[in-house]
Symmetry: C2
Subunit: 237 residues, 2 copies
């Protein structure tokens, strides 16, 4: 039987690439996504479509981070535009959701334990990213220790491994990997601030997530469609 | 302004005692509870009543652990009866919910960050407990490090402290504290397996949680009502 891995699938370019990498490494994929009452919940539609293209099981967990708030992604605070990610890790932007990856990795670990998975893949990235503290290698290493102590599997010496294959890649490295792996890139969704156009939602092309993604593809100097560069418009649910 | 603390409030004897201890230490209490689709969701009613008696703000977070399953508390697996907790920490019982405290502490940390709290109180206990790995001191210490790395507050040197005042107490120590602090003990709910009696739910008096609680009060050799020993019946919602 193939080994199994939980993959955190946000529906964005990075997590989709991570899922296809897990499959290339021979894992049967248990994808997990989170309905955290995020402003850009269209990413869950993207995640469902992507999981299906990869033949993965897909679990969506409801976890209401809007009840906590304090982020532009889970409250009515405006999403920053025009390149705040260029300030580097000295400034944590208002799109930071308090310890979001700690919550999400904890839930992924729970699923890994319940489904007897030997690995957890997460597409966190510490190079071309938005300065979030919970995307950095020291956090991931510390989390692995803590989760092993928290769990039956860890106390019994069978803790799933936490793999971060994208952590040291640039956005253009990730774009290159996505093309190599034939990820259906046009189905991925990155935008933090979807814009309504008739009965469609389309990427804003101006938030940090849109700009980082576009810069990653621009660096490849290829002729690519707008659907690859920013993601395709999606029908309003 | 009084310092503020998040208190994890399950509605049980331990967490209620912990909340009253936090108040005694001068903290304004932000109570947090979790609707995780648990079998014994009556505990949320208890938590609401207890928070009100303490004048605490109360946030209930929906997080669907039933979508993960693999526990007698979040699936149709039978709740064990008759003292499996007496086996000690060598055996982790079927009421173990995969890394539940890791998930709950992560969400509590998020709330502490959003509400500018300087402390988080949790009533975990490593003496008279059911063998859960995520109730032990090594886990708590490791969690504090990981959460500080995951968070804006931690990276900025303002990580809330994680306090576990009950961790080394016996159940009778906790019962003694609850009586000293005038916790409304009869309003707490401990049972894992509520029994229906007409339009009321009442404690089963046989699961590990009921037996541990009763033993704690029995050790005090006081004349106590059944409502104190096991908790009061609650009207079905």
């Amino acid at each position: 039987m193939a080994p199994r891995a939980v993959v955190l699938l946000s529906g964005g370019l990075d997590s989709a690439t991570c899922m296809y990498l897990a499959r290339e490494h021979g894992f049967e994929v248990e994808a997990i996504s989170f309905n955290y009452q995020q402003r850009h919940s269209v990413e869950l539609t993207a995640a469902q479509r992507l999981a299906a293209t990869c033949g993965a099981n897909h679990t969506i967990i409801d976890v209401n981070l809007r009840a906590i708030g304090a982020s532009a992604l889970t409250s009515d605070i405006a999403v920053p535009k025009g390149g705040t990610h260029l300030q580097g890790e000295a400034v944590i932007p208002s799109t930071y959701v308090p310890v979001r990856n700690l919550v999400f990795l904890s839930l992924a670990y729970a699923l890994a334990e319940a489904k007897d998975c030997s690995a957890i893949f997460t597409g966190v990235n510490a190079i071309d990213y938005s300065g979030y503290p919970d995307c950095r290698p020291d956090f991931i290493a510390s989390f692995a220790q803590t989760a092993a102590l928290a769990s039956k599997s860890g106390r019994e010496g069978r803790a799933p491994e936490i793999l971060t294959p994208l952590i040291a890649m640039t956005k253009s490295d990730i774009a290159t990997e996505a093309l190599r792996l034939a990820v259906p890139i046009h189905l991925t969704w990155s935008c933090y601030d979807p814009q309504t156009a008739g009965d469609m939602l389309k990427p804003c092309e101006q938030c940090d997530a849109c700009l980082l993604r576009a810069q990653g593809f621009a660096a490849l100097a290829l002729q690519l469609s707008k659907e690859v560069i920013f993601g395709s418009p999606v029908k309003v649910a």
